[in-house]
């Protein structure tokens, strides 16, 4: 099944291979005798360097789909190739390694460790990748600089504004140099000004570093930042529309 090893992260040498390729991906939850089909036979391909927004009402299955793409959850059936490798049947620990090396997460509620400095929060994925202290410090500092928070490295989350906290979370998502950043309602807890800051940061990361970005959102304004909008309803994709510009434009540095 392994078409090619994961690991050429961020490389644009092989731009033809998609980052995300799902085939008939299905997730069914069993609650007592009831069966709930949260995600129904979704086949979706996201190319390298794309910036995609997933939209849809609550319960439309977009978050469940997102969790499977993020290797936080396994599908009931169907396959999921991440950068060409089937990750739909990996063990929990193997999934943890995939998340650690190839995927960055950004959440609505920031999900930073409280009482832990920005620097330490950003270092967290590196800690589980068994990277040495010096290297951790260097890379966390670089990631914080990339989001414009180098001077806030030793502040704790409660000493930072919402927009700053979300930027720390983005730095944490960036620190392992991922193939893919998954953001779940990243601007849901932010005012409009911080929201546009965060979205332009995503745009910049997508354009300058070629990182593939998938954002789940309710906000049409946020979705408008993306180059492609995929709409969900009742566990299925009902619309898949590219925005004005071509998919790969701006992916090259």
């Amino acid at each position: 099944m392994v078409a090619k090893p994961l690991g050429q992260k961020g490389s644009l040498a092989d731009a033809s291979g998609p980052i995300i390729q799902t085939h008939n991906l299905t997730k069914i939850y069993h609650t007592g005798s009831e069966e709930l089909v949260a995600v129904n036979n979704i086949s979706l391909t996201v190319g390298r360097g794309e910036f995609v927004a997933l939209m849809g009402p609550s319960g439309s299955g977009k978050s469940t789909f997102m969790n499977m793409m993020g290797c936080l959850d396994r599908p009931t059936s169907g396959s999921y190739l991440l950068d060409g490798r089937d990750v739909s049947r990996l063990t929990k620990d193997e999934l943890a390694d995939v998340r650690n090396k190839f995927i960055g997460f950004v959440f609505q509620g920031f999900n930073l460790l409280s009482r832990t400095t920005a620097q330490e929060n950003v270092e967290l994925p590196l800690l589980y990748a068994a990277i040495g202290a010096e290297e951790r410090t260097r890379r966390a500092h670089a990631a914080l600089s990339a989001v414009g928070l180098a001077d806030r490295a030793h502040h704790r989350p409660n000493e930072l504004s919402g927009g700053q906290q979300q930027r720390v979370a983005i730095a944490r998502a960036l620190v392992n140099d991922p193939l893919l950043i998954l953001a779940d309602e990243p601007t849901g807890n932010l005012d409009s000004r911080s929201s546009s800051d965060i979205m332009s940061l995503f745009t910049q990361l997508n354009a300058q570093r070629g990182i593939t970005i998938v954002v789940v959102t309710h906000d049409p304004g946020v979705a408008a930042t993306a180059r492609r909008v995929v709409s969900f309803h009742d566990g299925s994709i009902v619309e898949d529309s590219p925005h004005s510009s071509p998919v790969h434009s701006g992916a090259a540095p």
């Binding site: 969790n67 943890a96 390694d97």
Partner: protein, 405 residues
Amino acid sequence: MSIGALFRIAWDALARNAGRSLLTMLGIIIGVAAVITALAIGAGVRAAVAAQLQGLGSNLVIVVPGSTTTGGVALGAGARESLKLDDATAIAHLIPGVAGVSPQSGTSAQVVAGNANWATSVSGVSSDWPRVQNWTLAQGRFFTPDEQRDAGKVAVLGSTVAANLFPSGNAIGAVIVAKRVPFTVIGVLKAKGQSGFGRDQDDQVVIPITSLQTRITGNNWLNSIVISATSTDIVDSVVAATTRLLRLRHHLTPNQPDDFSVRNISNVQQAFTQTSQIMSLLLASIATISLIVGGIGIMNIMLVSVTERTREIGIRLAVGAHARHILTQFLIEALTLSCIGGVIGIALGVVASLLASSVGGWNILVAPSAVLLSFCFSALVGIIFGYYPARRAALLDPIDALRHE
């Protein structure tokens, strides 16, 4: 993830709830402190008693009046009068392998010397006594067999008595009066100190047994006869022969029980060892219970901690932590909690032991093995009782954990 980093995370988490952590540790602290104190005092007493028993020598046989079932059973009338001086003399002459025999009796008396006086015990013994009981003289001499035979009015003072009656030190040749009988002081014993049971062995006046019986008490009973065998190997045969001889002398028919009992020091040592083993066992079980209670406290608070920090666990899992990373993190937290508790408990126990020794005047002995054992046991408690909460944390689903409010 390095162990050092894990300990730092554990420390941070515990320090965040310092008050709660301390209360959680209290069970372990009290348990370990109690164990250390009890073991220290127990070991101190044991060492003192063992040293004294050792000093008595393992070749000694002790005959006391009364049956062997003195514990609980009423003594027959006159049971304490069953040993006589003649019994001691017979043992000395008739039983082979006897190196020395010291019959003993005693009374308490107010002893007067000039204008000083002192309440002490007056012991009547034989001239073999220093050899049998391992006493040496600091000054002067002990009485002779002739002085014993003639019920001589001579006395040898224990060092405590000598110090109190003759503070200036010139006791030899002085006259002391006990129960209106004057005795000439011919010697002073070298100090032996307290016995393991807290009695001052130097607080006595020693006179010939014959003098005690004829001049002071007026009876011929003995409190005990101490026999020293020529070697440890023949102690058992001396015990058997003494029993046979005394039964014969006391005209006991085969179905009558002994009206005396014969023990050797190794019996006493065995009995003592057994008692102290039972005591240790009792201590160990109490310690185990208190440490288990402490462990349950740790488990309880770790479960609370896992619930409170579900979201943190979710974040860690999302960014790539394996189940075993989470398991190790919480196990180390529980381990840190119980080990710090153990160390504080050990410190507290040592302080309490020192206090007991300085205030209560008890012998104490804080054995390194007891400290090590307590520490290992508290670490073990942390691992055992930390495992269940840590496993619960490790088995959390990352999505559920992240959604946790």
